[in-house]
């Protein structure tokens, strides 16, 4: 039996771009996570903002929930909408680069382009955007802005911070179907060239929103000149010298101007045998080799001054660095479902919270080390703060382990948020954990905004503890 909106949606986007076939909608029932499948009722692939607007208006008239979808690479559960009835709006057909402006150093794109395609296209022109390093290659710009809390990161995220800092403006289809422009483009006479507008920062309302306030269809991002020279390195510390390693890393990151474009501290997770080293790994970039060499020299001096008792670079630390710089996500391929536990914490609490959360994980995973292996514990420096990060894996056919992995992922985040952290990567089930730690006044404000913008509650419902 056809979905009741099949014909109406086909009229908007053309029959080619609508499907409600059982197998087709099932292929849209999850993201890159071990959480259960949640099947939409129909999938539509619009080709323009105007088509998205008409879809949203139709959904409003019929009070049908919408679940927007970008690359679907989040690792914390797929939004449920209303299983079997929701309209899944797949934005990946909208992947054009609309305007490249090297003078204003901006690029305006459709939200369905992947960050890495955009990065590749910009590099061909001598520029870059902050999207190449993490998360995975198939995440869309819209997904990074709305689903990743703007937390997607370029290779220089340690020095420059995360993507939300470089998002100048958005075109958004509101829950009533109206189309707005944020940033400087709030003025119809102005270009999209700056986050600064003649009023409040509306762009921020949609960053990390999970699409509950509207569907982002276009984004204007800042461009940077590509730094063509780089070097990577590592410094190992004995397993009982975590404090020394943290001190060295903090000193490296505190230097002004920033030395490391990427800087992280890696150690063993609960699944690994004891006695393994802690490893600082870093990437240095520059416009010239001399600039890179100067930065490497400064790193050497800082480490010698702050934490002289170290092992320097070892074969193991170099191997870990290669592994990390090549993106650890990829190493999961063919082994099991990858999951992460990540929380942004202040630098002055990151060492304590790393130790406490590692102890928590070891307790929770005692006896599960083989079935729910968490391989590493790590800190990623980003703009004088740290992201605590654990990486684990689970066999999707092991139902008990899968449940345990979900419980540990949510429990560890709950623990870290209870200690002062925040979630950086959003997805349905992790947002629910985050919402437990909202101040009541903030949760009330969120409810008020949602009710005002989306009175029919059609736009990605049931996120952040909202109805």
């Amino acid at each position: 039996m056809k979905h009741p909106l099949y014909s109406a949606l086909a009229e908007i986007v053309g029959p080619k771009y609508v499907t409600d076939s059982d197998f087709a909608v099932f292929a849209y029932s999850n993201n890159s996570s071990q959480f259960p499948s949640r099947v939409p009722g129909i999938v539509v692939r619009p080709g323009s903002t105007e088509e998205v607007s008409r879809i949203v208006k139709l959904a409003n008239r019929t009070k049908t929930p919408i679940v927007p979808r970008g690359g679907a690479c989040s690792y914390g559960g797929w939004p449920e909408g209303e299983p079997g009835r929701s309209i899944c709006v797949d934005l990946t057909r909208m992947r054009r680069i609309l305007e490249f402006n090297p003078v204003n150093k901006t690029v305006t794109v459709e939200a369905g382009i992947t960050g890495t395609e955009l990065e590749t296209r910009m590099r061909e022109k001598g520029f870059c955007v902050h999207t190449i390093f993490s998360p995975s290659d198939s995440v869309t710009v819209g997904g990074m802005i709305c689903g990743e809390s703007g937390a997607a990161a370029g290779r220089d995220f340690s020095a420059a911070g995360m993507d939300w800092l470089f998002t100048w403006g958005l075109k958004v289809v509101l829950p009533n179907g109206e189309i707005i422009q944020t940033g400087s483009g709030i003025n119809p006479n102005a270009k999209n060239h700056s986050r600064v507008s003649s009023g409040p920062d509306l762009t921020g309302l949609f960053i990390g929103s999970m699409g509950i306030f509207g569907i982002v269809t276009e984004a204007t991002l800042q461009l940077f000149h590509w730094q063509g020279h780089e070097a990577v390195g590592s410094i190992a510390f004995a397993h009982d010298r975590l404090d020394d390693a943290h001190r060295a890393m903090a000193a490296m990151d505190a230097h002004e101007p920033k030395l490391c474009s990427t800087l992280a501290l890696f150690g063993p997770g609960p699944a690994m045998p004891p006695g393994q080293d802690w490893v600082i790994m870093y990437r240095v970039t520059g416009f010239t080799q001399e600039e890179v060499d100067r930065k490497l020299g400064a790193i050497g001096r800082i480490v010698k001054e702050t934490s002289p008792v170290n092992k320097g670079s070892t074969p193991q630390s170099e191997q870990m660095t290669d592994f990390y710089m090549a993106r650890m996500h990829d190493s999961a391929h063919g082994h099991g479902m990858w999951f992460m536990i990540e929380s942004l914490v202040p630098r002055d609490e990151s060492l304590r919270l790393l130790k406490e959360s590692l102890d928590w994980l070891k307790r929770e995973l005692a006896g599960w080390e083989r079935r729910v292996p968490v391989f590493n514990s790590s800190l990623f420096a980003q703009l004088d703060g740290d992201v605590i990060s654990y990486h684990g894996m689970v066999d999707l056919l092991d139902a008990e382990a899968r449940e345990k992995a979900i419980a540990v992922q949510k429990g560890a985040l709950d623990f870290l948020l209870g200690k002062g952290g925040n979630i950086i990567v959003l997805s349905k089930d992790l947002c629910d954990v985050g919402a437990r730690h909202f101040r009541p006044e903030c949760a009330a404000m969120l409810r008020t905004l949602k009710a005002a913008l989306d009175p029919n509650n059609i736009m990605n419902p049931h996120i952040f503890g909202l109805p």
Binding site: G71, R327, H329
Partner: protein, 396 residues
């Protein structure tokens, strides 16, 4: 509900996918992936682009079948057959042998055939032709060896040439070039004549494995009778069938199987044949056939041969070697199910070839030649053996 036996056997593989989506788009040039792959799936790029047109969606669908969530509908069968099995998704995923996406939907196709739901009619027609006439064209079996007229080839010998359907019927210049080249190097070459049957490439992919099995058993026995210790073919699909599919079915073969580019590269390296001149066009690009490259890992020998021809400049397409874009005709799957899509995929490849400034494309698979030649205003497309024979000044 169709039998799930083949898919069940791959159940653990079907749940290994992390749904990262690299099989849709993969741009990174980070360390592990040494080449940027851009948009990965030719079917996704030339269809409506839903998840079920790329590997991660199909793997998710396999999970749905395994969980009994839906049956094989006619529409789903059509989706599962509209795929060139080009294996670029596997190459991007770099999880082989643990996870090899095309293996999953090939298992699904076998289950579909076993249940009587497939293959779809266009492929069924090819199956019938192959079962009855032992060639993909339905041509007269007694004309299979006409390409060898006047060559006086023996039926027995240690080195045997397996021509394949395309070189036996519409592209005899390939077969005659191979024989001429090997004889120039002083090698005695035998062939099977009318006793050579289709390698079964279409049937391996469309799930009609009983037909493929009969072809394989016949060919293996015929080769065994010939006394061959080494079988050489110029067809990427025949190579893949003989080298990969046959042993999986009948166990270790009593002979080696090699591609002609490997043999010729050995002969050139040993000074047994010496290319003399460019075949006409001087600036050439090489198209890696999926079944030669990603399936059989043969990338260097064709390039060594081309760069060894005096006056030839080899220019690479942006996507080459393991990263190469399909010609659209792999195992006749997409061509049979959606000829328009196959043509569009081939046109992509021709555009990439043109971008290099090349005057001609050389490849090592007759089906790729057929696909690329059909592109409007195509560059000249040559088979590698034909180019080598011309470079040697051999009369074909």
């Amino acid at each position: 509900m169709a039998s799930q036996s083949k898919l069940e056997a791959l159940k653990s593989m079907a749940y290994l996918c992390v749904q990262c989506g690299y099989c849709r788009e993969k741009y990174s040039d980070t360390v592990l992936t040494t080449l940027p792959a851009y948009r990965v799936c030719p079917v996704r790029e030339h269809s409506a682009g839903f998840e079920h047109y790329c590997a991660r969606g199909k793997i998710k669908i396999a999970q749905g079948i395994l969980e009994g969530r839906f049956p094989y509908s006619e529409e789903l069968v059509s989706v599962l057959y509209t795929d060139p099995d080009c294996k670029l998704c596997s190459w991007i995923c770099h999880a082989e042998p643990r996870l090899d996406p095309p293996k999953i939907w090939r298992a699904m196709r076998e289950d579909i055939v076993a249940a009587g739901f497939g293959p779809p009619e266009p492929l069924k027609q090819i199956d019938r032709r192959v079962a009855e006439k032992h060639n993909v064209f339905g041509a007269r079996p007694d004309r299979r060896a006409r390409w060898a007229a006047g060559l006086d080839l023996p039926r027995t010998g240690e080195l045997l040439y397996f021509a394949g359907c395309h070189a036996s019927y519409p592209k005899p210049e390939i077969a005659r070039s191979v024989v001429a080249l090997l004889r120039t190097a002083g090698l005695d070459i035998a062939y099977l004549g009318e006793d050579e049957w289709c390698c079964g490439v279409v049937q391996w992919h469309d799930g009609s494995v009983e037909i493929a099995r009969a072809l394989a058993e016949h060919n293996v026995e015929a080769i065994r009778r010939s006394g061959a210790r080494r079988v050489v073919t110029a067809c990427a699909e025949c190579l893949k069938s003989l080298k990969i599919e046959y042993p999986a079915l009948v166990g270790k073969l009593p002979f080696d199987v090699v591609h002609v580019s490997e043999v010729l590269a050995e002969l050139v390296a040993g000074g047994k044949i010496v290319p003399q001149r460019a075949p006409g066009e001087r600036k050439i690009t090489y198209h890696d056939p999926c079944q030669l490259g990603r399936y059989c890992n043969i990338y260097d020998p064709p390039r060594k041969l081309l760069t060894g021809i005096p006056g030839v400049e080899l220019v690479e397409m942006r996507r080459h070697r393991g990263n190469a874009w399909c010609c659209g005709h792999g195992a006749d799957m997409v061509k049979s199910m959606d000829p328009g899509m196959a043509a569009a995929i081939a046109a992509d490849r021709m555009s990439e070839a043109r971008e290099t400034g090349a005057e001609a494309i050389v490849t090592a698979c007759p089906r790729c030649i057929e696909a690329l030649e059909r592109v409007p205003d195509a560059l000249k497309v040559y088979d590698l053996s034909v180019v080598m024979a011309r470079a040697m000044g051999l009369e074909i």
